[in-house]
C-alpha cells in the first residue's frame, strides 16, 4: 500500500517537473472521472454493507465444510460471487479452512469466484461496459472459476 503511494507520488513529481500544465490537466481529468463514477461506488458500498452483514465470514466457513464436495463447491462459488473480500482476508481465511479439512477444490472455487466474479461490483462495471457485456463477462468468469475448481480437485486427488 505505502509503496503504491510512493510510486504514484514519484510519477506525479516527474510529471510536474516535465510539464506543470499537463500535470494540472491530468489532475483535473482524474477528479472529473472520479466524481462521475462516485455514485456507482456508493451504490456498491450500500450493497456490500448488507451482504457482509448477511454473510459474515463465520457463516461462509460453516457452509464450506459441507459433507458433499459438489454441494460445497457450488456453495463456495456462490459465496465467492456475491461477496467481496480483499485478498489479505480471503487467503488467511482459506488457509485456516484448509487446516480444518475443507478440500482444496472448494477453496479454489471460493477464492477464484471471489476474484473474478463481481455481482457487487456490477453497478461500477456496467457504468463502463454496459449491462449486457457486464453480465456476459461475469457468467464466463463463473464458469472459468468452476473449471479451475475441477482441475484443482483432479490434481489434488479429491475427485477420483
Amino acid at each position: 500500500m505505502y509503496y503504491t503511494y510512493a510510486i504514484t507520488g514519484l510519477i506525479v513529481l516527474i510529471s510536474f517537473i516535465t510539464s506543470r500544465k499537463k500535470t494540472l490537466k491530468a489532475v483535473k481529468i482524474s477528479i472529473g472521472k472520479f466524481i462521475k463514477i462516485f455514485p456507482a461506488f456508493l451504490t456498491m458500498l450500500i450493497f456490500v454493507s448488507f451482504i457482509l452483514f448477511l454473510f459474515p465470514d463465520e457463516i461462509i466457513s460453516n457452509y464450506l465444510g459441507h459433507s458433499s464436495k459438489s454441494i460445497s463447491v457450488f456453495l463456495a462459488s456462490l459465496f465467492g460471487s456475491i461477496t467481496i473480500m480483499p485478498g489479505f482476508i480471503a487467503f488467511p481465511l482459506s488457509g485456516i479452512l484448509l487446516t480444518k479439512g475443507v478440500p482444496y477444490m472448494v477453496l479454489s472455487a471460493f477464492t477464484t469466484t471471489l476474484m473474478m466474479v463481481g455481482i457487487l461490483t456490477y453497478p461500477i462495471e456496467k457504468e463502463y461496459f454496459g449491462t449486457k457485456v457486464t453480465i456476459i463477462r461475469n457468467i464466463i468468469s463463473f464458469f472459468i472459476a468452476l473449471a479451475v475448481a475441477v482441475m484443482t480437485g483432479i490434481f489434488f486427488g479429491e475427485i477420483f
Partner: protein
C-alpha cells in the same frame, strides 16, 4: 433531472436515514451495516485516489498511437502479453481495473486485450499471488494460474470478436 438520478438520490438518502435511525435507537443490525459501509469506504479511499491520479496522467501523457500499436488491432499476441504484464502490477483488483481498462480502450486498445487485462487483473496480480501461495501452497496457485489464464485469453478473444461483429462500443463519457 433524469429519472435515474432521482432514484439514486432517493435510495442513498433512504439508506443514510436508515443508518442514522439505527444509530440513534441502537438497532444492532443497522449499526453493523453502518460499520461495514465505513470500513469498506475507508478501504476504497485508500486505493482509489492513486488509481485515478495515474489514470489522469495516463490520459495526458500516453499517446494514442503507442496504445494502438501495442494493444490495438495490429498488436497480435504481444497485446495479450502486455495486458497480462500491466495487470500483474496493479493493486486493488477489478475496482481499479475497470476505469484503467476504460481509458486504455479510449486510447485505442482492442476489446479482446481489454477483457484479458480485466481477467488478468482479477487473477494474477503479483503481490496477491505471492500472498496466496504462502497460505495455500505453490501447487494450488500454479494450478489456478495455468488453468485460468489460458481460459481468460481464449474467452476474451471470443467475446471481443463477438462484440466487434455487433459494433459494440463501451459507454461514452465516463
Amino acid at each position: 433531472m433524469k429519472r435515474n438520478t432521482k432514484i439514486k438520490i432517493a435510495y442513498i438518502s433512504g439508506y443514510t436515514l436508515f443508518l442514522i435511525v439505527s444509530f440513534i435507537f441502537r438497532f444492532n443490525p443497522g449499526r453493523e451495516i453502518g460499520y461495514n459501509f465505513i470500513s469498506f469506504l475507508v478501504y476504497m479511499l485508500k486505493i482509489l485516489p492513486c488509481a485515478f491520479i495515474l489514470i489522469g496522467l495516463f490520459e495526458v501523457w500516453v499517446k494514442k498511437e503507442v496504445i494502438e500499436k501495442h494493444l490495438g488491432e495490429e498488436s497480435g499476441i504481444r497485446g495479450y502479453m502486455w495486458a497480462m504484464l500491466l495487470a500483474g502490477t496493479i493493486a486493488g483488483g477489478l475496482l481499479v481495473a475497470f476505469p484503467i481498462a476504460y481509458s486504455m480502450y479510449n486510447k485505442g486498445a482492442k476489446l479482446s486485450v481489454i477483457f484479458t487485462y480485466i481477467g488478468a487483473a482479477a487473477i494474477c496480480r503479483v503481490p496477491m499471488t505471492m500472498f496466496e501461495a504462502s497460505f495455500m501452497g505453490v501447487k494450488f496457485t500454479a494450478i489456478r494460474l495455468l488453468v485460468s489464464l489460458p481460459l481468460v485469453i481464449v474467452t476474451s478473444i471470443l467475446l471481443g470478436n463477438y462484440l466487434g461483429k455487433r459494433n459494440y462500443k463501451m459507454v461514452e463519457g465516463k
